[in-house]
Symmetry: D2
Subunit: 397 residues, 4 copies
Amino acid sequence: MPGQRGLFIPGPTNVPQAVRLAMDISMEDQRAPDLPSFTLPLFADVKKVFKTDTAQVFLFPASGTGGWEAAMTNTLSPGDKVLIARFGQFSLLWADMCTRMGLEVDVVDVPWGEGVPVEIFAEKLKADKAHAYKAVLVTHNETATGVTSDVAGVRKAMDDAHHPALLFVDAVSSLASIDFHMDEWKVDICVSGSQKGFMMPAGLAILAVSEKALAARKAAGMRRCYFDFEDMMKTNKDGFFPYTPPLHMLRALRAATDLLLSEGLENVFARHHRLAEGVRQAVSAWGLRLCAAAPKWHSDTVSAILLPEGFDSAALVRHAYTKYHMSLGMGLNKVAGKVFRIGHLGDLNEIMCLQALAGAEMAMRDLGVPVTAGSGVGAAIEYYRGATASSALKNAA
Amino acid sequence: MPGQRGLFIPGPTNVPQAVRLAMDISMEDQRAPDLPSFTLPLFADVKKVFKTDTAQVFLFPASGTGGWEAAMTNTLSPGDKVLIARFGQFSLLWADMCTRMGLEVDVVDVPWGEGVPVEIFAEKLKADKAHAYKAVLVTHNETATGVTSDVAGVRKAMDDAHHPALLFVDAVSSLASIDFHMDEWKVDICVSGSQKGFMMPAGLAILAVSEKALAARKAAGMRRCYFDFEDMMKTNKDGFFPYTPPLHMLRALRAATDLLLSEGLENVFARHHRLAEGVRQAVSAWGLRLCAAAPKWHSDTVSAILLPEGFDSAALVRHAYTKYHMSLGMGLNKVAGKVFRIGHLGDLNEIMCLQALAGAEMAMRDLGVPVTAGSGVGAAIEYYRGATASSALKNAA
Amino acid sequence: MPGQRGLFIPGPTNVPQAVRLAMDISMEDQRAPDLPSFTLPLFADVKKVFKTDTAQVFLFPASGTGGWEAAMTNTLSPGDKVLIARFGQFSLLWADMCTRMGLEVDVVDVPWGEGVPVEIFAEKLKADKAHAYKAVLVTHNETATGVTSDVAGVRKAMDDAHHPALLFVDAVSSLASIDFHMDEWKVDICVSGSQKGFMMPAGLAILAVSEKALAARKAAGMRRCYFDFEDMMKTNKDGFFPYTPPLHMLRALRAATDLLLSEGLENVFARHHRLAEGVRQAVSAWGLRLCAAAPKWHSDTVSAILLPEGFDSAALVRHAYTKYHMSLGMGLNKVAGKVFRIGHLGDLNEIMCLQALAGAEMAMRDLGVPVTAGSGVGAAIEYYRGATASSALKNAA
Amino acid sequence: MPGQRGLFIPGPTNVPQAVRLAMDISMEDQRAPDLPSFTLPLFADVKKVFKTDTAQVFLFPASGTGGWEAAMTNTLSPGDKVLIARFGQFSLLWADMCTRMGLEVDVVDVPWGEGVPVEIFAEKLKADKAHAYKAVLVTHNETATGVTSDVAGVRKAMDDAHHPALLFVDAVSSLASIDFHMDEWKVDICVSGSQKGFMMPAGLAILAVSEKALAARKAAGMRRCYFDFEDMMKTNKDGFFPYTPPLHMLRALRAATDLLLSEGLENVFARHHRLAEGVRQAVSAWGLRLCAAAPKWHSDTVSAILLPEGFDSAALVRHAYTKYHMSLGMGLNKVAGKVFRIGHLGDLNEIMCLQALAGAEMAMRDLGVPVTAGSGVGAAIEYYRGATASSALKNAA
């Protein structure tokens, strides 16, 4: 089918040219004597994306799901108790994994559309005088509902309770797009992946692990081998890996990290906020509502948009794909059929968001959703006009 | 600058993935014994794009300008008289080249916004009893003004006058996008290029030459060597070339031709018409006018849009590029500052056109052009909804 | 450094152009409705490479090491006894993993240079009347020593003993290069990876699992989640995945599988044997010996070559890399410093092997190894001349 | 056919990864306001490759043949007399073009295997008191015979005769590989192409033109348009082009120029000399002779090797291509069937040359040419060992 397909899902995101080219290379020797001159600076620079000086970065050939498993198997023991809130498909799956891996999981169910209930966490942590909780798990950005949670708030609750549990954060769909402070928030393990803010294909789990979490591995009773931090550390310190690394992905990570750092993380975050806000303006202009229940939960990387009663969002997503060659995100689990999602993260700009909005409008109108043609796009245009600074020409005299 | 840059100029057009990949190859041996098994079928299939059984295809490493030069130097002699109409930057340059190459040029000036004046040509041809005109030159699609001319009409005028002149057509910005009939219209030389409907980078002049034009080369008194048809024919017949061919471009041409023929030329033309019509609907909704003076001149590959008095289209194009990372076409020569152009040809679909329109709206509003945000996009959405058939999923059960 | 770097390690292997291009694509929607039309035939065709009709294929974003872990965690329980022979770095690591994952490991140590001791295995299996062994683990091709083992022999020993243990084979450096019969040999789990015979970058573990092994997962007491067969099966059956798949790698796998099947597996194996034999002829001509202790252990994918006493193979590998821009495989663990390795697998032909041999000769002579310049290359040339059939030109008339 | 095909022809040469990637990009807007910030430094840096401060660089979408035509049509008039020596297929074709373009050509025929006869040129120039010669044409490196001529010698002869003719040099197969001094040698037009020392695909003619040659264009009576210097200069001065430029090729040229300048031109020349000398050592070891009649004619970019009487070099080239997947250069015109050629220029290193030699040996032995297997490779190995400095590892500590 002619023309570029629109990819407006919350990951995999559009791969920028520099990242695509970085991968399009001849295979390399993973034991080459000059490999460390590539890998060691890469490890160092990826840390900057997590805003950490003290944590250690781990790069596993895996998806983000593998990253979750790495986090728990390296630090916990079967029977350990963890605290987690469940309010979307990804927090749900993470909680499930905890159960399957033999942890005792204290799940706080929250309506889908809200995020981590900091107050409830605070109470539970205070009540846990025996420090039964070994880890507190926070889904920073719930991709299924477009909800961002307050990691700093959870950290404050932990500190207020003087609770020594580890703090794990799933930042798969937030890192490198929404502000994240590994060190300031004293996050112990942050799990991310390649296919969202890092603008790469899927296939690399990217973790940052605090010294405290690393220390926990000695006592951790879960069996592990592939995801073992120890094996990685022994070889990573010299710039190598315990098994064949996906070097083309590491080259892509180098390019992606360069893009992020050269744009400047604060600019990256501001851009994501601006682009997201334009999408939200469009949703309002359409007369629709977000799944996110209140502005404080608004995600700057993905918007889950509720269709009016009587409309099937799965049909909408399929229609947009089939007729207009564009991918929107479908609703998952509890919100299946109810929401469609626009991913607005990664290598994105204003005209790409306008394209997503125009295409969504067109598809909704085909299905009879009562939105006015041009209304959402028009609202976003007006917002972007004011919010976007005109960049000087690169290399201009 | 983050995000994909929008390319909405009338060439070079967006290169589809299949064409990009076809070029991204190791260098090849231009004298390899199996090269003819690649080149000979390519020559045959490119002919189909011209809708010709009888003409010969020539592929020169050159721009379309080189194609013009090839056409005249292989068939005409200094002092030969040619008839041409001038109504835009490209017809103007072609007429200029005729003069510079020593031809006697009868130029019919027509207001920019109109096309070849078939009636005037008809009169002139009838009046030319001595057959002084050796060639009639037609710019099928004037890229500068978004005007498509009536080649069949010119042929009819020639036939009615029983005039033996050669018929040359510049189809650089129409071939493979707007219907073209080499054989039916008895076109003698059609000049095209790689960077428009063929969806490739610039660098290949693609010509089809009738037997009548080939016969004319014996008497043609213009000196030529690089662009000599004879040299090409001697080697092309066996699948080779008189000098090192740009094989990566020929591989791209193979991929592009495959895309065109597998979509079906009639579908390609219908798609271009549909996409163009949506753009025209948007222009109307904006309350603006096309440079093309009447619907019969409307081009399905490029729309030149007149800004209201007092607005500078060069500033608009520059602003859109600088602030919104999108390229629109600027006005050239007589219409410089007055029109901006949207190229809507090549590897294009509805959501790409909507992106162009949304971006143009946003930029126009920044400059104070009185258009309503969302109006053009909305109009195009409504048009596309009805005009676009839902394609079945590829490989669907 | 100018010129193409020579990559003569036993993986990652050289990626053929078709595979490279297959990955160099825009990101795709992993929930697209037409994705199954791509994935389901892929699963089916990859099975052909394993020569299985009945097993199920699993594709994990992981290295081969992850594949090992998937095999054991899905079928065994802590404390289960397994039988394995150790005769090189990779069989050693696999045995280690078994221990670390809580299995009781019966390790048969064999001199490095030999392979699985079928007779000893036969005795042990016969003696195990209680069927304590739950799995027999065979490293088909030990990459560290260039030794290929007799999987069919092990199967026969198991059958003779009427032993019900599962048969696991590590075919990471043999599959798609050396003949392998999943069904005929009644292999229960075969673990392979993307970066060897599949000629792709590292990052995909490719497994085939028999119905018997799948049945074992119900009773398997090891905890697992990322590598869980069940999760994969539930979604794979419809063409999808339990977490974001690395679609660019699956596209590459499609291209690689097409290359393998269109060359024909038997031709692929014959080519590997021929190329390997030329390398062995060169080693003889140099007056050197292989690490493989007897012809029956000769590997057709990698040759580990013993340097004479007093020479350091690590220095040789480093020298070749630094001065001549070519990667040879270094000696690992017990044979570190003693052997260097030439990988001769994947997308390889005669002139590539000659290049490896010429480069190795040149580097060895620099280090004073007493080999005659041109001797190895000359021997290989003479062998290849006779062994290589002249292929007809593709598309030749 | 599996494995990388060997490309050992004297152009197109192997494209280095950095150049390949530089072209593999989205299309660009050739009128973008920031294009000059790319093109103007490119023009400046390409001048360095010609070793000129004063000449102007021209980049035409064309082959080297187009470059020849540009040189003469911009500076000469029909009937002008030029002096040229003919000693191979490319000097022959250049002389032919002169005739066809209406020049009076004084051709000095020299045995194929020798180069420009400086003494004869000196005599002729001295004798031409009337300064009838308007241009002296020198083929710096005759690709057909592997002969390099003495441009400085010709310049000296011109100076000694106080002859004001223009000096044109065809450096298509020498520039960026063999030392060339535009300014020091007072060359007026140097014609080169993209597909040799610039390591790019074919399709770009690259010229440097002296102020004296530019001044000559006013009086030049040849008609020209596509190749007109004037049109280029008017737009190039601002960083633009008179017609759509092949921007992907200019991006490749940027990458190629960066590679050349970062290696250092003198290092590039030394490398070519070293690689060529190894090939010549191999030819001697085979007991064969070069077409180049004496060492002073030896080309560092291509060796034309004479087969013994009774052997058909065309059959050899075809055999090597068909059986061993490698391209050697065939003999052209007078030396057709007699010589085969090894191109050793561009992105090349020692192991690539050894591969070419090994493959040629293997193919020759198949055809019964009495060369000893391993002899040529062995000789080259011994030469390279001594001549090649071990480069320090990039980024090594």
